[in-house]
């Protein structure tokens, strides 16, 4: 299973890690990188990678999106949904051309985002994006691997009818080699603790795999470790929280009001959790072997120095996470049965370590192990569905 860097703000941290052999490729983000800057990047960065075209809001010119030739506003000013009728073929061609010119590993078919999907949503996606895209590829006999981008809302997982609709839609497009799947995350907690949601994600991935599609998961956080048991082809790692949890706000050109900075956190593969760094001082005081809960990396000695100034915008905790999580994902057994057993065992070990910690430290719900019992139950149920 591969690990892609989900690029965003401060994408250089990801690129630097990737150049140190962390991860297998990059998912480029047009809102954060000018089209020409991306074009100038070396082949070694682009060839194993792909582009997320980010036409989610069609004509919202967030960041550098409007520097891309396929940005709708560059076709005609004030592009609107109705203009897709006349311009979808040109849009597809420009989107394909830009991706071909950069020689990415995959060609990605864009998609749109709505807060509430209209009843014609999938028909629109087919007419405006998928059909023109594949027609253009067919006309030019381009034979490159393609991915459909699909945003999966929570309702599409929970509601059987809606789930079947989206699965039918994806599997109905036989020209695509796979999907770039993004699960929208509107949970209030930092870890996902919803049993039905998680189990349905696993089943969703499984159906796509059974249908012979490559499954690439974007915007994943720690739950990617759980998702791995459904055998996706890749998961993603990202720095800031909005790159590990998909929300449309990231693509909206909102007026910036005062924003409360999140606390800096440190990921531990042994805990399967990002722990608020301020609990580390308490651990230092109360648990003699506390350092053993945190993975070694070239960044760890610096972060554990007493004068390290923790801040959510510092690179070290994120580069540490890229390194640790990539290694963790690469340690997974290749065969599904062994992998499930391995993941289950690791979660049980994490629960045990949390028991030790929580004997003396009162962790809050975003630093504790309260997600893990749910994850274990999800594994058990998923295992049953495999029999």
């Amino acid at each position: 299973m591969k690990v892609y860097h989900q690029l965003g703000f401060r994408y250089n941290w990801n690129i630097e890690s990737f150049m140190q052999q962390v991860g297998d490729g990059l998912i480029f983000s047009p809102i954060n990188m000018d089209a020409e800057v991306l074009f100038q990047k070396v082949d070694a960065l682009k060839e194993p990678s792909f582009l997320d075209p980010q036409l989610y809001l069609l004509n919202e010119a967030k960041g550098d999106l409007d520097t891309y030739p396929f940005f709708p506003g560059n076709l005609i000013p004030d592009f609107e949904t109705t203009d897709l009728d006349g311009y979808s073929n040109i849009l597809a061609e420009k989107c394909i051309n830009y991706q071909l010119k950069n020689n990415f590993k995959y060609l990605v078919v864009p998609t749109r985002y709505y807060d509430d999907n209209p009843s014609t949503y999938f028909q629109q996606c087919t007419n405006y994006f998928v059909r023109p895209f594949f027609k253009n590829l067919g006309d030019r006999s381009i034979n490159k691997s393609t991915l459909l981008s699909v945003i999966v809302k929570r309702i599409m997982l929970i509601d059987t009818e809606k789930r079947n609709e989206v699965l039918n839609w994806i599997t109905g497009h036989r020209q695509a080699n796979g999907v770039y799947l993004i699960f929208e995350n509107d949970f209030k907690t930092k870890q996902i603790k919803d049993f039905d949601y998680l189990l349905n994600v696993l089943k969703f991935i499984k159906v796509l795999k059974v249908n012979g599609l490559e499954v690439h998961l974007g915007y994943t956080n720690t739950e990617a470790f759980l998702y791995s048991i459904a055998m996706p082809d890749s998961i993603s790692i990202g720095s800031y929280e909005n790159l590990r949890s998909f929300g449309i706000k990231r693509f909206q050109d909102l007026e910036k009001g005062p924003v409360r900075s999140p606390n800096a956190r440190l990921y531990s593969s042994k805990l399967l959790q990002w722990v608020d760094y301020q609990y580390i001082d308490a651990m230092k005081d109360l648990i003699p072997h506390y350092e053993s809960y945190f993975d070694d990396s070239e960044y760890k000695p610096l972060m554990f120095k007493p004068d390290f100034k923790w801040h959510f915008a510092k690179s070290e905790p994120y580069k540490h996470y890229f390194f640790v999580f990539d290694k963790q994902m690469k340690s997974l057994p290749v065969a599904q049965i062994e992998r499930i057993e391995f993941v289950r065992m690791k979660m049980e070990e994490s629960i045990e370590i949390f028991r030790e910690i929580q004997n003396v430290i009162y962790l809050d719900e975003n630093s504790d192990g309260s997600h893990l019992p749910t994850w274990l139950n999800v594994i058990k149920s998923f295992q049953k569905s495999l029999i």
Partner: protein
Amino acid sequence: MFSTEAEMSICFEKYLKKTFGNNYFKEYSGLFGIPDFVLYSKQEKHTTIVSFELKLTNWKRAALQAFRYRSFSHLCYVVMDEKSKNAASRNIDLFKQYNIGLATFTPDNGLQIFFMPEFKPPFSNTQSQKILNAIPRRGRRSARSMKLICA
């Protein structure tokens, strides 16, 4: 019994002033959490820092917050409204486990302490130093009645 936390906070502040003097900060921010009150008292060369988290009902939330204040305090207290006394005191073992003080407060009777925590150094020197640096020079004196909250 208080109808809002704001009302409880006003009464508690009056009580703090009367009982311990003016050696306190209200809602001090920039630390691990924002305690409702931080009391400080200089004894010889050492300054003791005591944090208080006031709550009408949710003792569990208060205990989580108070534990964070151990990063910069020698003592932390959850102060509950009288009406939530039973729910909190039924869980006194949790307060003992994490060395968090538990008390109730009424304007008439002041603080009633159910568990007095052990005096412990703060987890983080950096954080406690922030408070020490914020104490006005002329305010560096011993608070009155510290024995009420500190063994």
